[in-house]
Symmetry: C2
Subunit: 191 residues, 2 copies
């Protein structure tokens, strides 16, 4: 049996163009602020094709969140985890990388959650899944780094990460890269 049906549907060029366009627009301008008409126009896709791949806008928003999650996981996957301490620092260095990127507009998950108040909504659950993944990653690295209480230190690192993502967007403090490194090191040593 060849890869028909769902598999092909997920890989179709039109679907990819829609998801790519939506990812760029949703992140840059917000989700409620971008309509379907604009997405299909910029993706060069017919409306029927869009609704063929995504039964409703919310499905597209979920796919957007999962796409952002995929991008984040891919970035982390490039990190060598042989040395857990170095890997933890590298994870946080990536925040500084992202913040320097032109068009940086904060954390896509925090921003999306701001637009979806209901914690039970599929969008929020997709966000939660990503945050669970990230926390599990931190706990694993911290355990391997010999942290006394990996769970609690992961919570503190989560606070630090969220804070860095927000502050680097809304305040743009100077010496962000050093601030990230110092704060991370302080938590890991003093944890």
């Amino acid at each position: 049996m060849t890869g028909t049906g769902i598999e092909q549907r997920r890989d179709s060029p039109a679907r990819g163009r829609v998801l790519g366009t939506a990812t760029a627009l949703f992140y840059a301008e917000g989700i409620h602020a971008v309509g379907i008409d604009r997405i299909i126009a910029e993706a060069g896709v017919a409306k029927a094709t869009f609704y063929h791949h995504f039964p409703a806008k919310e499905e597209l928003v979920c796919a957007y969140v999962r796409e952002q999650s995929r991008i984040g996981r891919a970035a982390v996957a490039t990190i060598d985890t042989a040395d857990p301490r170095a890997a933890l620092l590298a994870v946080f260095d990536q925040i500084a990388d992202a913040a320097e990127f032109p068009g940086y507009r904060g954390c896509p998950f925090i921003n999306a959650a701001a637009e979806y108040p209901d914690p039970a909504s599929p969008v929020r659950q997709a966000i939660e899944e990503h945050r669970r993944w990230k926390r599990d990653l931190l706990v694993d690295l911290l355990r391997r780094d010999g942290a006394a209480d990996p769970g609690r230190t992961a919570d503190i690192l989560t606070v630090l990460g969220d804070g860095l993502l927000v502050t680097s967007h809304l305040n743009k403090p100077p010496n962000l890269r050093r601030l990230v490194r110092d704060a991370t090191t302080a938590v890991l040593n003093g944890g």
Copy 2:
């Protein structure tokens, strides 16, 4: 001359009802998700009255942000600042207070910024003004507390505050109050 014109307009009962309703709805459900029709219906105000006080929705959104700023400043104003160190801890304790409040949905300024991408927009400038006020507050208290580099420590405390506001909403870590206190103390002693 009596307090006519702008003064009276700002204090009118209808305007207050609109702003109060909008503040509750915008915070709870997001800004783009709440329409004018719903606000005036729940505030019990005629449409003409609304547009009499707020020429456009964006004016109301700006007033909402300033109202949230007023609420935040009022909360801080209750703190005794004789002891700057105690005052700093009290400011961060208020984050834990807010996070325990039923209906807590994160920081209204961070959430609003997520919906207004243009940093030059009036809404974003109102947000920036609040964040400037908060940073100035921290710098002042830190200086009086004898911090070596009040500006830099204020940046770190801003990261911490933003992180706590976000994480306490999206992760709800256990022992939040102790986490807030420990993290703040660590920054103040180690920073």
